[in-house]
Symmetry: C2
């Protein structure tokens, strides 16, 4: 069982005021559809700012229950997978409540050191195990060092011949989900 | 050599007026970065409506030459790959002018009949040949039957265990580019 979490971090200005931590509308749409395509068990949007969570929930409600649900049933089905949470701990608790097991956390990103889990290894694990795994993506400048250190597993990064490594998080989620959950 | 073309079709209302054929800002951003990551030789945005082409060009100029270019060099590099054209014929002519050869056209989508080119086959071709190939994606409801019929090759479609097949075109481009141009 695979769950996806998309983490948004607040960015502060020098006065300690939050500058941005916006949830991109397209992240919600694209990743929900990828999650549905590749049979993810859930897609968590994690944002510490309440207003941002409310905005995300409004978009979700529109497509899940409101006008958008009648307008586009395919999108409704994808939006059923989404949950909005304030922090990662709540996600882990939620998965545990749903499955009975604390999920193994798998961080994504570039330049990990230490032991790296290959895409093919994670694919095999997910095919042969019924335990929950939580695949964690960060927006903006990626995941914090602290979170990476605390995670159970570090996933191989997307590599290309060009050395250019600046994909949108939406693109990264699509590529990785195909690699680990594709046929 | 691989080129990407993203086709926008006009949608007409019953009076024959164009309703929409909008170029999504995120399509430009995400696909340009995917194209750069996977060493595509060019990314063509094709739209028959002049105003839409002008809008796309404005966005590109912003990131390529304007404020955005100083602000984000990574994005500038990706935006260098973009060209805006009115129709597919112009794209084919442009590739021919650049490379000396008319590109083989490869259409993408679901439910093709007849001979299908596997991702792995196209990957091998691109590794062993210097001839240009043009990978064609459609927005909205996909490519027209006429275009599919006229194309040189029909690419395998993205498949998943869920049977749910409603990815954003941005996601489809990312997944396919990784399959045919990834390491």
């Amino acid at each position: 069982m695979l769950y996806i979490a998309l983490l948004h971090y607040p960015v502060y200005n020098k006065d300690g005021k939050v500058v941005t931590t916006s949830i991109a509308n397209m992240d919600i749409h694209d990743i929900a559809r990828v999650a549905k395509t590749y049979s993810a068990s859930g897609f968590y949007i994690v944002n510490p700012i309440e207003e941002q969570r409310n905005l995300a929930q409004e978009i979700i409600n529109h497509w899940h229950n409101g006008y958008g649900a009648d307008y586009n049933e395919f999108r409704k089905n994808a939006f059923e997978l989404i949950n909005v949470k304030a922090e990662l701990k709540e996600v882990i608790d939620d998965v545990k409540e749903q499955t009975g097991f604390k999920p193994k956390t798998v961080v994504t990103g570039a330049n990990f050191s230490g032991e790296i889990l290959k895409f093919s290894e994670l694919k095999k694990i997910l095919q042969s195990s019924n335990m929950p795994y939580l695949l964690i993506f960060g927006t903006g400048s990626g995941l914090t060092d602290e979170l990476i250190k605390k995670s159970d597993l570090k996933l191989e990064s997307i590599s290309s011949h060009s050395g250019y490594n600046h994909l949108a998080v939406r693109s990264a989620v699509a590529i990785i989900m195909d690699k680990i959950m594709g046929i």
